[in-house]
Amino acid sequence: MALNKPYSDIPGTTIFDADMARIGFHLNQFAMSLMKAQNRERFKADERAYLDEWSMTEEQKQAVLDRDYNRMMSLGGNVYFLAKIFSTDGLSFQFAAATMTGMTQPEYAQMMLDGGRSPEGNLYKNEPNKGAS
């Protein structure tokens, strides 16, 4: 019997469960490698060549090259692992989060200052939606 995944109807959210961890194993381990300064330098010098050292799918590699974080997460990436990529780029968690929402960082930062994204309309996929999809 399939496991119950009640979180599949949360809008705009990918829960990093054991199935996603299996799909994203090499992507996340690549990201983890960027915790070493020497690997960061090698990655920055030639991103494509560095990615080709890992058993990632072409889709995963392209998502990294595009810095498309939502795509990386749909392909098994976990945000704490992917954080090593935007840290290597010298970018903050808030910047990366903003790109995932389609907002600019100033727009996103203002939303947070205004109290954050409201739970109203954002708890179930089938309810009227206010921003997240």
Partner: protein
Amino acid sequence: MAKITAGVTTSHVPAIGAALDNGKANEEYWKPVFAGYDYSKKWIAEQKPDVIILVYNDHASAFSLDLIPTFALGCGEKYKPADEGWGPRPVPDVYSHQELASHIAQSVITDDFDLTVVNTMDVDHGLTVPLSLMFGQTDAWPCKVIPLAVNVVLYPPPSGQRCYDLGKALRRAVESFDEDLNVQIWGTGGMSHQLQGPRAGLINKEFDNNFLDKIVSDPEALAKVPHINYVREAGSEGVELVMWLIMRGALNDKVTQKHRFYHVPASNTAVGHLILENK
């Protein structure tokens, strides 16, 4: 006899550490965050704990996908701040009370909780930001720290009930240690936040404030809340809050709330903080 005298909960937002380390603590954005810990710094200077059992989660720093322990108790001599991608935080190394840590491991495992023992690991912002918030910038942490890392990155994390019950086992362990020690237990992480996907930035003040109420007054009921409520209502990363239940389980049923603080935002996150003393 060693005794758990108090519990502290706090968020462990990495940007708080970065603000301190980069001299931004007096900026308008950060002032209200740090002001929420003014009382706490005075309180802990008076309390002078000998040892803190610090419950936190690793954020893909010490544990990659190679190995994901659900509960990992640090039994090593000391731990260095992790390089999380931009160099280690400029904070002191963390020294453990190794005899107590190994006593806890033996007691808790015998008590049916299958802990993983870790002797070598670096500790990331999940552990060092709470120390910075409570002790400020210092050349050496003023007490010993025993890390207890909980998996909340790979879903599912341990249940709220399991965390609460582990807290009770930790208390039995501490109270069966012969040396006279003033021990505190800290539960960190939360509160509501989501760092990923189109719903990033979710904050749920009602959920958070209810959690702050219930963890003091009715932790038994709170321990029964399933994961889906956390991830749906408090954001995918809000599920870190189960770690607070380990802290609460280790305290008396009745506690005195000495301090409560709540603030939005710190970067992407709602900051919550409690100080509870055993009655």
